[in-house]
Amino acid sequence: MVLTVRDLAVTRGGLAILEGVSFDLKAGEALVLRGPNGIGKTTLLRSVAGLQPPEGGTVTGAEDQIAYAAHSDGLKAMLSVTENLKFWASVFGLSDIESALVAFDLTELRNRMAGTLSAGQKRRLGLARLMVTGRPIWVLDEPTVSLDAASVALFAEAVRAHLQQGGSALMATHIDLGLDEARVLDLTPFKAAPRTRQMDEAFL
């Protein structure tokens, strides 16, 4: 078991939105989170990635294992494609960026400034960053936003390769990636019941 989530409860803006979420993620497995807007997919992923402490429940196995990709790609406009990737690779203690450039079809753009890329190209660069982290668990928040069909196929191929190497992926997406091995978890049943919060929490 790579990642175990038990009875997780998360809040957004002080309001409980999800509770009782439990799932396991094994090596070589992908889990797709579904649910309507505002259900708490992003908040759940941030909690799993350790950016936000959960309100309740436990996440085990996440420590230093997760490569997180959110809505914004963390690219610097005034650095070239290669420099952006090299930076993230060296932050994670790696140096090889070639396979990531090839996997996301960025080799021709390698010397362009990231600020001059189109939205889809930026997204591809942001996703290529995952490959240079060397982390086994990819936590992805809407990874296919602004990607065209061909790029989505590239991305699905990269995820498949990652799974075959024993990695795993947890992602929130509405698009069918054509990953047959991916399980789907619908978050709608875990919506937190409305409740009044205790007064003293406002002063803590």
Binding site: R46, A49, G50, L51, Q52, P53, D64, I66, A67, Y68, A69, A70, H71, S72, D73, G74, L75, K76, A77, M78, L79, E83, K86, F87, W88, S90, V91, F92, G93, R129, T133
Partner: protein
Amino acid sequence: MRALLLRDLMLAIRAGGGFGLGLAFFLIVTVLVPFGVGPQTELLSRIAPGILWIGALLACLLSLDRILALDWEDGSLDLLATAPLPMEGIVTIKALAHWITTGLPLVLAAPVLGVLLSLPIPAYQWVVISLAVGTPALSVIGTFGAALTVGLKRGGLLMSLLVLPLYVPTLIFGAEVARRGAEGLTVQTPLLLLAGISFGVIALLPFASAAVLRINLR
């Protein structure tokens, strides 16, 4: 860590980076003050150490909100927080990069600009020494202020209000070193206090900055 420092320095000197902003502001202040004071060389040389210190402090303040806000906006800060770097290390590197791009040029420019303020000859070395010892504290305290206000829209005003009182001790002892140096008095006490402030904040504030940054990233 080294990669982060190199990236911040590279970003600072690329187009649109913050390098030179503080230096230009410092230059403007020291050029304009003699016009404002009028042709009284004696008065000017008396206030020169203080003006240089205030100019350096405000120049530092000018670029503080860039320390973390840019990384917050493009999502890098979230990704750095999940990277295998300790948050304390990240804020320390950020402060160091800010000092190299803002504080260090001010230290080097101060003796040149001192000429414009007819700074007394014995004061030159003490202005440089006091700025060299004091500006790291300005960067570290400023990073703490930036961490407190990261994610707030137009957080710059709030940050200035939070940071300015924390800057006062550094300013008092820094300017005192320069002033006493200009008058040929002994500078040991204020210099030691200034160094104490710098070392104290460098040792302690990164932990506070990292803690508030973790809360702000939620």
